[in-house]
Subunit: 205 residues, 4 copies
DNA sequence: AATGAATGAGGGTTCATTCAT
DNA sequence: TATGAATGAACCCTCATTCAT
């Protein structure tokens, strides 16, 4: 083993690697179980068992069930946003192409991470978590709508705050419904419908 | 109590009236507590205490907490539909006036029964229940959209099932948000925005 | 059953009587177990089992283990003081007879309630509870010593606060030691020694 | 680390020194934490962390938390006795000067090692330990009192075993109380009061 | 029909201790 | 010798539900 290799090793060290492993296993077990039974239908002991570790190990990695839930959801949200940013890079902000690219990425993400979506927005429209996630999304939508309206590119009688709530609900609900069973509609049909119902794309009037 | 009074009571079937009374008190107590603390934040004992009855009495009227919750929500839904029917009677089915009348009634209902709305749709933990209510609403919307599309009065690329999910989400979310604090927007602003986002009123594409 | 009897019954009602019973059983079980194993050596489940009730019943009667401990100790302290008051009534305050009567009553109490004493001051010199009890006793002793000193009836170089701590320690320790095995000394020997070591009876110096 | 440095280390037997070091660090960390939070308020992991070692290391040096506690207390007791012996050397055994010298040394020790005193005698949860320490002290006191009585230099009605318990309690309680906040009395006031209350110095009677 | 004390399974959480590295 | 992640038994406490009165 070279000195360089030894250094790398010591940075994460054997136990550290094991720790990260355990953490990942717990996260995966949690996503699967939460998607299936919801936050209140799952115990920390069940998550631990499914991850193949002891009950107490759960608390070595997460303060409690809520914290785990939270972490999963916001990590997913961050990943989604990053993907959407990459997908829409180069498009003119607010253009139909920009919105379409981001919507398509949303649906692609929902298809790829079905369990995650079902967990956060599906059965767990529970948990106050969905609320929190929605509240993390709403302000951006609302600001966007306000700008559109100011530019006269959205209907004058559209109330930005109301429309932002409505749109956030549309997005979270539709992806949850679709992720639960993607055979219900093709991705393209979902995208097309979402674009139709996007308040920022409504004909000004 | 005089003999006469006792007789009057027995004519009205005292126990029966008392039973209905107790039941109503339990329902009212439950709505208030659920709106405030959510399904999981309230115990059956708390509901009983607030209703002024003993713990065990709860189970003489409801199978369990879920059943009570269920009953409240579907009674509310039934009442709303009846009100909407009354409000839109005489309007041509599917006309803009028809939709507007029903939407206005929805908002009026939300204003009048804020606690109820917050309980069912606000506190997200209501979990399965909000889902259930939504699923009770969705098929009607979906059939409606299918008819509109068949008549060429809705965009061709609107997928009825997707749009129905979306619209149900819009309605439940917006009234929950608004009922939590009606000063956020005027009733008319909410109505206008809901009409704009109603998929059955979108300009045919 | 006469009307009078019925009224009495309704005041405590059958379940109420049962409740008081359960509470007493729990208190008795707790005293015995705490005396044997100390606060930290006993679980609420053990107390409940020994009282012949279910685990959860414990929490119908006491907020938690600490609260129960607290209640036992302070009820005992209150009872002791009342007995001492009764025993010394008519004696001149601060006279040797007054002090002797109260000391004798203390020892009689320790003999009668051995488990209680062992629980609070013996093995459980644990718990912070003994501290609390001592702090409930110390101020009275201290004020007393200050008065004696002011009257020139106690040694001039006796520091009241120090002596009060010392005396409280003497009392609590000696009765705990003696209650654990009363064959170690006769009650009269204990009383005589306590009187000798009572700072308020030391020859003024 | 340079080769030279490594060599120096190995000359001093680096691991050996390190072991003693680790042990000392653990002891110091334990005293500080126990004084602050008590036996039950501190975990072995916390002690290890404060000592700057890994959790498992704790068990390479001590069988368990109790053993550590034990060792600290008895090492302190041994040190105190040695100091008292040095302080009273040359004084006539049992003379007032002898007792005064030893008492002064006790107070000086309490002032110097406040954390230690608070840990062992202050936090009452120290439970079994304070008892044990007291029992280690009592026989000496008791033998002493027996001799004094036999020589007619102590009150005839003083029961040696009772008085020994009482005196041990006085000493441990007073130094704990004073160590917790030495501004409560001057060292000389504490010494004077302890001398007044020392059963071996009571006027024979 | 109402009462409310009792039940007891089960959840979340802690932590002394072990052991592979 | 030291590490520190993992263990898992045990604890405290809650609360939906029952049942004797």
């Amino acid at each position: 083993m070279s000195v360089a290799e030894a250094d790398v090793r010591s940075l994460e060290s054997a136990p550290a690697r094991s720790r990260a492993d355990t953490r990942r296993r717990l996260l995966e077990a949690a996503v699967a179980l939460f998607a299936e039974k919801g936050l209140h239908g799952v115990t920390s002991a069940q998550i631990a068992r499914r991850a193949g570790v002891a009950t107490g190990t759960f608390y070595l990695h997460f303060a409690d069930k809520e914290a785990l839930f939270h972490e999963i959801a916001f990590a997913a949200l961050a990943e989604l946003r990053e993907r959407q940013d990459r997908a829409s890079v180069g498009q003119k902000l607010g253009s139909r192409e920009y919105v379409r690219a981001r919507t398509e990425e949303l649906i692609a993400f929902a298809a790829k991470k079905r369990e995650l979506i079902v967990m956060v927005f599906g059965r767990a429209e529970s948990a106050g978590l969905a609320d929190e996630v929605r509240e993390a999304v709403v302000p951006g939508i609302q600001r966007w709508l306000e700008r559109r309206k100011a530019e006269g590119r959205a209907p004058a009688d559209l109330h930005p705050a109301v429309a932002a709530q409505a749109h956030a609900a549309v997005l979270t609900r539709v992806i949850a419904w679709w992720a639960a069973d993607p055979s219900r509609a093709t991705a393209e049909q979902v995208v097309a419908t979402l674009l139709r119902m996007n308040p920022s794309l409504l004909p000004a009037g």
